[in-house]
Symmetry: C2
Subunit: 452 residues, 2 copies
Amino acid sequence: MNTNQVVDVIALVESVQSLIDERDFAGIVDAVRPANLEQTTSLLKRLPPNQRAIVYRLLPKDSAIDVFEQLSPGLQSDLIHGLQDSEVATIFTDLDPDDRVWLLDELPATIAPRLLRGLSEKERQLTAEVLGYPKGSVGRRMSPEYVSTRTDSTVSQTMQRIRSRLDDAETVYTLPVLDNSRHVIGIVSLRALMRADPQEIVSNVMQDASVINAHEEAETAARKCAGLNLLALPVVDKEDRLVGVLTIDDAVRILEQEETEDSARQGGVEPLRRPYFATPLRALVSTRIVWLLVLAIGATLTVQVLSVFEATLEQVTVLALFMPLMIGTGGNTGNQAATTVTRALALGDVQVRDVWKVLFRELNVGISLGSLTGLLGGVITSIIYGPAIGLILGLTLFAVCSMAATIGGIMPMAARALRVDPAVFSNPFISTFVDAAGLVVYFLIAKMVLQI
Amino acid sequence: MNTNQVVDVIALVESVQSLIDERDFAGIVDAVRPANLEQTTSLLKRLPPNQRAIVYRLLPKDSAIDVFEQLSPGLQSDLIHGLQDSEVATIFTDLDPDDRVWLLDELPATIAPRLLRGLSEKERQLTAEVLGYPKGSVGRRMSPEYVSTRTDSTVSQTMQRIRSRLDDAETVYTLPVLDNSRHVIGIVSLRALMRADPQEIVSNVMQDASVINAHEEAETAARKCAGLNLLALPVVDKEDRLVGVLTIDDAVRILEQEETEDSARQGGVEPLRRPYFATPLRALVSTRIVWLLVLAIGATLTVQVLSVFEATLEQVTVLALFMPLMIGTGGNTGNQAATTVTRALALGDVQVRDVWKVLFRELNVGISLGSLTGLLGGVITSIIYGPAIGLILGLTLFAVCSMAATIGGIMPMAARALRVDPAVFSNPFISTFVDAAGLVVYFLIAKMVLQI
């Protein structure tokens, strides 16, 4: 693969597709050769599954595994299905234990044992260790191939240890430092080791370590590793003994996946498991239809509410004109609060125990927003539609904003407390709920003001 | 700072706050001592600005700068305002050039020159270099303190070079490899150097390098660095000559900030520049009120639309009952499409040039979703409200979903083409637009079916 030559990926996709149609495999090899790792990966992401397998098989042996590692597990598993057993076995052997487990989670249960049998005894053992932790935990995403050292080792002994593990360790740049019972006492960087006197003992050059329990959520661990600027976070068991390390590149992958999930849920859609153009239309529909129907069923609540107030509506049809504006503003206020609190929860800035503080803050913010919009909206509509309508709209905006901000702020916390992804209970869900509640408020205020 | 002792941050905040009230500074020192870097940072994030400055000054000298680096630029600048000039100068000198620039961007323009004057000649030069690149570019976030080597150097010469830069280089684990004109020809990892024969020349152990232009957006560079699992991405000028490196920890910070922005905009709120509890209520209101008003003004379009159809509404009041359901479903469909496409754009899976492909896919998805919801909704309401209403709702759902998915898919691409953050044109914006358009469609269909 060449370095920085300018390769137009979109043009490459088109030329590769026509070469596939012409069955010109040598032509494909030539066309793909100038592309670097990133461009080759983009190419594969944009091809449909059957064409992807063809191009993958034509990649040079040494770069194929690098490209494979760049793909999301969804695409990896598609690719596996399009390859022959011997090819799959080769890929599987070449992967690191943690990447292997990531892929296994995507594959049908029947394939996994066959693939595992193909591994060497040592590799099988390492993989089984990672497989032993629950899905979604950091144990499942850590690497068991780490280099560690001991508090009483010397720097030169440690350097020796690193040199012996250059080929297989996940990282050699950050080493957990252990006591005699394998407890993590500190971490030491290769840089600090290189800077130190070779006869110095490790405990004099190590730093304090942050560690994480292997059963903690992978997202928590990844956020910790990234937040503390660590190249590797030691992962420990219940007795605080080292079982693996989470490296920064894996932490970044975990966070990217979590962000994709959060953003999708915030928009009321299931996350895609493949890049956009690699996702079949049918899959795009299925990531959306369930949520759309759930929300539509929720929205029938608004129909019920309006049925109750149908007589009022018949009497004062002008009230109907402002319905979308009232519920829209409520929905927006609720979304704003939910978005802010969901993100603060994800970043660890807010915890479930802060629920009363958040309630208080969001209620306050809602009252401020409601006062501002209510006053403005009330005055403007008074001028155009008369004081009665102006008063109704002003009061409704005030009440709806106060309510929506509070609900929007509390919902993600409730979700987290119930151990559901806070983003699930998020924007479209809150809009739907706030719509119905907002209509009740609107018509009650209207009936009160108009005395009907 | 101690290692893994269990410290309850929320309890710590409370005890520190009461110690501050009692002016018991020795007590604060004792209370904070058991907390590790992460916990101390959380503590500071949760305190109001004046208390934060007090606690910060009581931290041990050697850990204070580590804590400072963990804070967001917004908090850093708050803190700076609460400290004395000499304290600020010390912090400023201890920061790396790229972190310094990040902070400078947050400070009032009057403070910057004074701080810069306090630096050594060399540090000032390094900082000025980074300051020379436009805001938002990777040049502004790269580190100019890199170690590089040359294609024709030997491994042992390169190791010697690394040893001489252990104290000041941003990273020593990934080195750009240059030719005689400072062009980046490859990269070599410290691990590969340690594995190689000391007499080997570097070009035989290096790998192909991906590089990025210093004027590219920081987000693009960060996504590239993270996506390729690099510990450092070489940053080059227009002539492809090395000017700095973007390290993975900076890439992670950039991505986290971008995710926070995208998620906020997706929810129709300006991103917070400080952690949730460090943000004053007034600031929470101001991040929301502008968007809320903009959206409310947009939503007055729905009032206009409904005024046009007021006669129809008076004649058939039952149509009002389904308005929130119809426009809500449209809004949800639009949001789903916008969320999916915005994320695909952020990840680089979709580019602006793909606009026709995206239009085609989203129209197709919209038609599928519209057919499913329209059929289901039409049949159910036919049974309850009679065939005419059923037909109106079925047709409206079909039309609104098709339209909303297409608009929702295209909007983020239009934003990107106009060089606006795609997330800005996003969910609440699309809902507002789709609400008005959906109402037009609804009443036109109703008039047609009811022949009024």
